[in-house]
């Protein structure tokens, strides 16, 4: 409400004002490109050329194939890393003893940057689906582990008491009481990790792996097609945005009201 009262000076509706900046920037770039961009340019591209390359790459299927390759690695890695992360996170969250004993090992492995694993995985499994998926899985494992551990710790104490009164075993306590009530918070971890998974998948493709959107972008660059490279950038942004929007929608529909 405060925002509404502060800005009665302009006649544009709120959602339109957010569009002003991108539209102005694109128009400005188009103008600059018309004025200064010669045919011997291999770095920049005019917005209309980027748009036409984007449409071309989308309609001939190149971009969709690349999107499939990137997303399949990102999602498979996220599934593996997420599953391991939730399992470890639940165990560490439920048992303070195990958590304390694993402390040094977890803290020693967690900060390893995923990019450092690229050479190692190149050596172990070569180019392809496996190396990329493994790196994504390793990267997404840690944030999901840490956040599920804290989600489990946030489970209401009364519920744990109920489990004790009902004389549940460890597995039953985890499956019936703790995990369902920690699920909304665990979903937040998954949402965060999805963004990380996409970033890491694209990074691995840019650095080493000859498949997917990141590689398409590198090839466009190295073959001096800046408009295509920018088209890939725009499309990667669209994919990231759509994934995020989809997860936000799921979150709002199923999980947000339980937090």
């Amino acid at each position: 409400m405060a925002v509404l009262t502060q800005t009665q000076d302009s006649g544009l509706p709120l959602w339109l004002r957010g569009l002003v900046l991108p539209v102005v920037v694109i128009a400005l770039l188009e103008g600059l490109a018309l004025l200064f961009l010669g045919p011997e340019n291999y770095t920049f591209a005019a917005p209309h050329a980027i748009a036409s390359d984007l449409i071309h790459l989308l309609s001939d299927g190149t971009m969709l194939m690349a999107t499939y390759e990137t997303l399949s690695c990102a999602m498979a890695g996220l599934a593996i890393g997420g599953l391991l992360g939730v399992v470890f996170g639940v165990v560490l969250g439920l048992s303070p003893t195990v958590d304390k004993i694993a402390h040094v090992s977890v803290e020693a492995l967690r900060p390893v940057p995923p990019a450092a694993l690229i050479p190692l995985m190149l050596l172990v499994s070569g180019f392809g689906f496996q190396m990329e998926t493994t790196i994504v899985a390793f990267t997404t494992l840690w944030p999901i582990l840490v956040l599920s551990r804290s989600a489990i710790r946030h489970v209401e104490h009364g519920l744990i008491e109920v489990a004790r009164v009902l004389e549940f075993g460890f597995l039953q306590r985890a499956l019936v009481i703790v995990i369902p009530s920690a699920l909304p918070r665990i979903f937040v971890a998954v949402r965060l990790a999805t963004g990380i998974a996409l970033t890491v998948a694209v990074a691995v493709e840019i650095v080493a792996n000859p498949r997917g959107l990141g590689y398409g972008m590198m090839v466009a660059n190295q073959t001096l097609h800046p408009a295509s490279a920018f088209a890939y950038l725009v499309w990667i942004g669209v994919v990231g945005w759509a994934l995020n929007a989809g997860l936000n929608w799921l979150d709002g529909k199923y999980f947000a009201r339980f937090r």
């Binding site: 959602w15 957010g18 050479p119 660059n221």
Partner: protein
């Protein structure tokens, strides 16, 4: 009582060190039994020898210093730009309305995808690596600063108005401390991103540093050197994050 609890903490720490030692022992047994080819998984002893030898002849030490300097340098540039820009956007209702939606739309863009664009702009140069780091690590700090300044309790501003505080004082004494926890949280993510992007930049740009060291080790099948490099990169991540935690405890003392 205090002595008691710190004794317990130490005991648990030693137990968890022992557990880590057990894992390393299992790793050692696996490689000794030849379950995995040594070219894929060298024994921990070999990795340690490679690490010590690299540190001793200076090559690994130099690479470590360069990579650490790049990480911190790029991260500091990114944090500074992020905080200043974020404060400007977060404090002005107009800027939030006009710039906010664009920032939100760009938030899920994977930063790594900017690397090819920057390579096209600057070539395989030192500036390219630093720009990749600075631009990539900028986002988390920028976005958190915006939302940190936005979330300042409006009554605090009313108090400032009643006290007739100057704009500058309002910024330093009220807005900044109140947004600080969120800013530091953003800077922490930025630090992780920096280290990743430094390695990416070094590998792509063939700049001297740990990223390039491990790439060379892989190409020449010196797996022990590769593992030593990965271990040091993990250590850099751990030490820098711990330092930032310490600084946070000092700066945001009221939250702990």
């Amino acid at each position: 009582m205090l002595l008691h609890s710190s004794f317990y903490r130490l005991a648990w720490f030693i137990a968890s060190l022992a557990f880590a030692a057990c894992l390393i022992l299992i790793w050692d047994r696996i490689s000794a039994a030849g379950l995995v080819k040594p070219i894929f998984l060298p024994s921990p002893g070999k990795v340690w020898t490679a690490l010590v030898a690299g540190m001793w002849d200076g090559s690994l030490l130099r690479a470590t210093l360069i990579t650490t300097a790049r990480t911190l340098g790029g991260w500091l540039i990114a944090s500074l730009i992020g905080i200043v820009l974020g404060a400007v956007i977060g404090l002005s209702a107009k800027a939030r309305i006009y710039i906010g939606p664009t920032l939100e739309a760009l938030r899920p863009l994977p930063v790594a995808s900017l690397v090819p664009i920057l390579i096209a702009l600057m070539g395989y140069s030192e500036q390219m690596v630093l720009s990749v780091v600075a631009i990539g690590a900028l986002w988390p700090t920028l976005l958190n600063t915006v939302s940190g300044f936005q979330a300042v309790e409006p009554r605090l501003y009313e108090v400032a108005q009643v006290l007739r505080m100057r704009r500058h004082d309002v910024l330093i004494k009220i807005a900044l401390p109140s947004a600080l926890p969120e800013i530091i949280a953003g800077m922490r993510v930025g630090l992780t991103v920096s280290l990743i992007l430094v390695v990416v930049g070094e590998i792509l740009g063939s700049r001297p540093g740990l990223g390039y060291t491990i790439l060379l080790a892989q190409r020449t099948f010196h797996t022990a050197d590769l593992f030593a490099g990965i271990a040091i990169l993990g250590l850099i991540g751990f030490v820098t994050a711990s330092l930032l935690n310490m600084i946070e405890h000092k700066l945001v003392y009221w939250k702990h």
